[in-house]
């Protein structure tokens, strides 16, 4: 498994997508920091600062980045017949899918740790530096790590469509946009139904920042777990049955 994971990292090293994504996240955070720092009446302390910065980023931007990363990771195997050659070596299809899940999880975590660092540093150089304490820093770290780990689970089922479309990226990308857009619009009514909406309620469960959440955590966790497991099972079985 570790070899497959290392292979994933080596393959994606040539891909500029992650670096461009980090650049886009940086641009967004710079814009957001400026906006929150400038809106004096609306945001008073570090809590409101990180809530605003992480809010839209984790509801909209990170899921979209992870979804497109997931599309690229699977679609790459179809290019230049790589998948066909891969089946000639003794690699289990289930293990291959699992290695990709781990890769996406790790990349998401790295992205969110970068966001965590950026939020803390930018708060330090803006008017929120007075209200930063160790407790709030740990809270930001927790939120970033939780988002980084949980969001890919909700987004992973997109891989089913990449396999169905045999590596075509356009349709899965449009579906990703629609999925992220829908889960954002239906964050409250979608809890326990739409996995990406459920993640918000899991991550911000029992929060003190004022984010409204659904308290039925079991239902949200069950929804997310079922869809994620179904995603892995369907992707693996589709790959096994597919004629290349």
């Amino acid at each position: 498994m570790d070899k497959l994971l290392i292979c994933e990292f080596k393959k994606q090293k040539r891909n500029r997508f992650i670096f461009v994504s980090i650049g886009l996240i940086t641009l967004y955070l710079v814009f957001m920091s400026y906006y929150v720092n400038d809106a004096r009446g609306l945001y008073s302390d570090f809590t409101s600062f990180y809530k605003q910065c992480l809010g839209y980023l984790c509801f909209l931007i990170l899921p979209l980045i992870i979804a497109i990363l997931c599309v690229n990771v699977f679609a790459d195997e179809y290019k230049s017949d790589a998948l066909k050659y891969l089946w000639t070596v003794p690699v289990s299809k289930g293990k291959l899918v699992f290695a990709k899940v781990l890769y996406i999880e790790l990349m998401s975590l790295i992205l969110m740790l970068f966001v965590c660092l950026f939020v803390i540093v930018s708060a330090n150089i803006t008017r929120f530096s007075q209200s930063i304490d160790i407790h709030s820093i740990l809270r930001v770290l927790y939120l970033c790590a939780a988002n980084g780990l949980i969001i890919p689970l909700a987004v992973f089922p997109i891989s089913i469509f990449v396999v169905l479309c045999k590596g075509n990226t356009v349709i899965p990308t449009i579906l990703s946009v629609v999925y992220v857009f829908l889960s954002f619009l239906f964050t409250s009514p979608g809890a326990g139904i739409i996995p990406l909406s459920s993640t918000t309620h899991i991550i911000w469960f029992n929060n003190y920042e004022g984010v409204m959440t659904n308290n039925n955590i079991e239902m949200n966790v069950a929804n997310l777990s079922i869809i994620f497991i179904l995603g892995i099972v369907f992707t693996s079985s589709l790959l096994k049955k597919q004629n290349l």
Binding site: R16, K79, I171, T173, V177, V178, L182, F184
Partner: protein, 241 residues
Amino acid sequence: MLKLEFMKLKRSYLILILTLTIILNMIIQFYWGNMTYLGTPYNNRLGWVFDSALSLSTYYLFAPVFALLGSNMIEKEERYGTLNYLKVIPLQPIKILWVKFEATFIIAIGYSFLMFVGIALLEIVPHHNSITVSFLLTYMFRFVIHGIGSFLTVCPIIALSLLLKKGNGVSVILSFIIAFCGVLTASSTIAPFYPINAIFFISGMYNGKASQFITALFSLAICFLLSILICLSIHSACCAE
């Protein structure tokens, strides 16, 4: 060449998926419109569904969809190696790019018009007694303007996708962020400068001053000029090869 571009599109499921996004937007608007505030459904007010659909489409849907369509048309030629074959026939690279832009522009108009038709059904059913032709024509104009405006906003992103390998994903994320940041800048003084908000000033959704209207036009013109500049630099780079 434009006809060829549409023939290529015909083979993909793209049109079906785009139609599905329109139906999805209709379902969202129907659901929201029937939500009540102080016992009254939102869609009781004539034009509420149109306003809501226009905002939602412009801030979240039009820009990423058009950016994806445009960048995919360009990327496809590179992915399948057809760009190399196109280079051996006496066609200027700028012309190939221009046709892609033209095709995206036509799809943007068609898509926004179809979105209007779908949303108009939701507006006509509860208000068939009070709705007028001029009211419908006003919103049809607004939808098309928003479609064109969103296309102009993402033009530089489409052009940039040529420089990036696997530009599809990047162009979608970039256009999504740009469109979404319009929500944050909508109430600020820079709103008419920001291309996504500029569309609202041009279509008349925001009642601004004449100076704001001109600024908005200027903002979209800059986007278009920027994309031409990017295309020209790519063209000269191709010619140098």
